[in-house]
Symmetry: C2
Amino acid sequence: MQTQNTISLESSRHPTSILTRQARVEGPFGMIGMPMRFARNSEIYGEDEASEYLYQVVSGAVRTYKILEDGRRQIGAFYLPGDIFGFEAGETHISSAEAVSETRVIVVKRAALMVRATHEKDLARQLWDATAQELRRFQEHLMLLICSAEDRVIGFLHDMAHRTVKNAAIELPMSRQDIADYLGLTIETVSRTFTQLEQNGVISLPTSRRVELRNRAMSNRIMAA
Amino acid sequence: MQTQNTISLESSRHPTSILTRQARVEGPFGMIGMPMRFARNSEIYGEDEASEYLYQVVSGAVRTYKILEDGRRQIGAFYLPGDIFGFEAGETHISSAEAVSETRVIVVKRAALMVRATHEKDLARQLWDATAQELRRFQEHLMLLICSAEDRVIGFLHDMAHRTVKNAAIELPMSRQDIADYLGLTIETVSRTFTQLEQNGVISLPTSRRVELRNRAMSNRIMAA
DNA sequence: CGCGTAGTTGACACTATTCAATGTCTGTGG
DNA sequence: CCACAGACATTGAATAGTGTCAACTACGCG
């Protein structure tokens, strides 16, 4: 049922240095990287694969996830344009990554970055910062998972809101199922919570994927960023 | 009600280079560090403090935690002898840290380590490995929080079991409340789950702090390490 | 021995899940 | 342009699993 993997540059999964004919783009940390395209629901990398590359989202959105043995899926994080992912400090990925929607990314060779970082203090610093941010994200996510369904959804929307354009409606790239799997809830509970929040005037829902934050009740909630 | 902070070396919270008269000890990454002692429930560092030091547990146990605005406490991790903590890749701590029981640690200046890491590839590698482990810990913890109470407790015990001596009874240094705050459950649910697991022959509980794993039902559970 | 802390147990309330049905949106073909 | 299929989302009713509140027990320490 999954859209077929579609990658713009080549048939093999990852770019090689041969592909220099392709326009190259300013990527994470000012490094030159290869642009790539992923179709909705296509895999970007798999869990336990060697983490050869590091990615920066240009457009679209990415989810990382793990599947539990009972079949449930836990989404670890969503990455939006500008975000860097696939760099987990270790030699192998700790999650799989998929495109939530049609997504463009810039890809950089991890090893090359790491080597460069040994003599460029600034780059090393940026890598540590990116990792620190990743740790903070995990921590925030953890805090969400011990809250009520309402607080989880509010926390999620709050996070999305401040990661996208301020004071504007949030355009959610992900489905209710994605949100449910991120928040450790069922799709029904997420849906019910959305409608409930709308009825309470906390949000409005012009369409199911578009959310406007009405009430500043948001601010009283959870930890600020 | 909290035991008064008791630190063996000095009255101020952290060691200074003046304290060279004190015996020094092989610390994390083979670096020389200062030994310190913390009484049960005493603070090792606070959230948002500058992360000046990095710690390795010698004996005892440490918990890191955050307090939510509703007063609940979320424990992020427990650190046992040999574990390194307080190094979160950023300039400030993302959690507070306390001694679970009377605890001895070795303290190393973070800045010094980072500087040394720029020209010692091996040390740099060890720092990245430690960070990767920390990320993996967060991820595992996240997976636990979306499970049932029973699976959370089993997952927790499983984790504790393979972090301490194999094939032996686990001696839990932390209270039921600590476990509850780690697993996002109430103390009552944790307690009930323990007795339930004992009745089902999965564990035995010679004392409330000592757990013996009976059944290999453990193995069918959650992700292995 | 008695006190205080930690842990266990019970009854009940409440929240989220489950299972099932209905509703909505979008793209495709008639 | 409309009708239809399929995916996505919402809603309802019944149930299961935790939380809450309160009482009780066990243990360690003076």
